[in-house]
Amino acid sequence: MTALETAPPRLQGPGIEFSGIDLNLGRTRILDKVSFQVRAGSVHALVGPNGGGKSSLIKTLLGQMPHQGELRLHWPASPGTIGYVPQALEFDRGLPMTVDDFMAAMCQRRPAFLGLSRRHAPAIEQALARVGMLDKRKRRMGALSGGERQRVLLAQGLVPEAQLLVLDEPMSALDEPGVQVFEQLLRDWRQAGTTVLWIEHDLQAVGRLADRVTGLNRRVLFDDTPQQVLTPERLLELFSSHPRQQEASS
C-alpha cells in the first residue's frame, strides 16, 4: 500500500444538511419533511421510485426550487465549486457540435466556435481522457452513443474541479467500459474528499459503491449504509405506491 493510499482523504467537500424540507407544486405534495445529512467527502446515494421527489430535492439543493425548511451546506473553508451531471441534454441531434465544441461551450467564456481557449484546453483534455473520450473529441455529439454522451456529461462535471458533485442517474446509459470509468471516478472523488450526492436506480451499483443511501418517496423512508437498508423489505416499501409513514432509520 502506498503512502498516498494510506493518507486520510482531504476533506474538501461540504457536508449537506436537509432539515424538514417541504415542497409543494400546486396542490401536490412533492417533498414532505425531508431530513437527512450527507457527510462531507462521502458518496451518498439517493434512491426511490420515479416521481418520488429525488430530482426535486436536487433542484432544491441547487437553489432552483422554492421550499420550506432548512438546507445547509457546511463548507470546510470558503464555499467551493458545485458540479452537476444531468441525466440528459436537450439538443438537436443534427447540430454540428463536436465533443470539443460542447466542452468549450460548458467550460469557457470564449465563444465555442473559436475553439478551445488556451487556459481551459489542458483541463478539458484531461477530463476527456479520464472518461475515455479523448479519441472521440472531434466527433459530433449527435453521432455519439447514449453511453458516450453520458461520459461527456461526466467529463464536463470535472471542469472546473468541483468539491460537491451532484449526479443525476449518471449510469443510466453507460455500457460496461463506461461503468468502469464511472467507478474509477467515484474512487478518485472519494480519495480527493469530494462530496458526491448521487441519484441512482441501479441498486446493485449503489450497494457496491455508495457510503450511505437515502430512500426517498416524498419522505425519507430510510437513511443508512447500503448493507443495512438495501433489504428486500425496505425496497418493497420504498417502491410501493403508498409507503407507510416511517421514521428514517437514522
Binding site: F91, G94, P96, D101, R109, F113
Partner: protein, 299 residues
Amino acid sequence: MSFEDIRLAIQAWASAGYLPEALAYGFVVNALLAGLLIGPVLGGLGTLVVVKRFAFFSEAVGHAALTGVAIGILLGEPYTGPYGSLFGYCLLFGILLNYLRNRTGLAPDTLIGVFLSVSLAVGASLLLVLAGKINIHILENVLFGSVLTVNAQDLAVLALVSLLVLGLALPLYNRIMLASFNPQLASVRGVAVKPLDYLFVMLVSLVTVAAVKVIGAILVGALLVIPAAAARLLSQSLKGFFWLSVLIATCSTLAGIFLPIALELPVPSGAAIIMVAGLAFATAAIARGTLPSLKGNLG
C-alpha cells in the same frame, strides 16, 4: 471616417472605372453598406436562433414590425424610418411573449401563433386607417424591403444595433447555447437562464427591426434562419456552422441587393436576398444528399 466619406470614395472609384458602374449611385453604395453591416450579424445570431429553435419567433417579430410601422406613422413619425415605434413595439412584443411563455407554460409555438395573429390583426386595422392618409405603396417597401430609401440615419441605426448585438451576443454565445441544452446545468454553471432568455429575445427583436428597411418585415426573419439552416447541413463543427452561416448571410444580402440593380430586374431587395439565401440552402441540401463526406450524417 463617416459612412458619407466611405460612400463618396466608393462612388468616385466606380466613376473612375475601378468598380462596377452601379456603385456610382449613392443609394446602391448605401444599400450595400447596410448589407455589409447587417448580413454578418444576422448570420451569426441565426446560429443561436437555430440552436434555440427560435425560428418561428424571429418570423413573428418581423411580422410585428409591420404593426410597429403603422403605429409609428399614426403617431406622426416619419414614414421612411419610424424607428421609435418600430423598436418599441417589437421589443414589447418579444418581451411580453417571453414573459407569458414563462408564466403560462404554453408551448412557444402556440404563444407565437396567438401573438402573431393578434399583432397582424392590429396592424391590418391600422393600415386600413392609414390607407386614406398616406401613399399605401410606401408600405410595400416596409413589407419587402427597399434599397432606394436607405439613408445615413438607417446606416447609423444599423451600425449601432450591429455593435450592440455583437458586443452582447459574442461574449454570451456559450451561455445562451448552454441555457437551451439544460437550464438546470446552465444555472449551476452560473448562467442567469431567464434574464439571458429575455436578452436573447431583445437582441433578435433589435436586429430584426434594424434590418426591416433592407429586407422587409415579411422576409427579415428568414435571413436569421435560412443561412444558419444551410450551414447546419454542411458543417461538422460549431466553427464551420458559425462562419458558414455568416458567409452565406453576407453573400446573400450583398448579392440580393446588387444583382437586381446590375441586371435591372424589378425585384424588391428583400425578396432577392431571400431567393439567393434559398438557393444556397437548396445547394446545401443537395450537397448533403450527394457528397459522400456529408451523406449519412444525422440531419
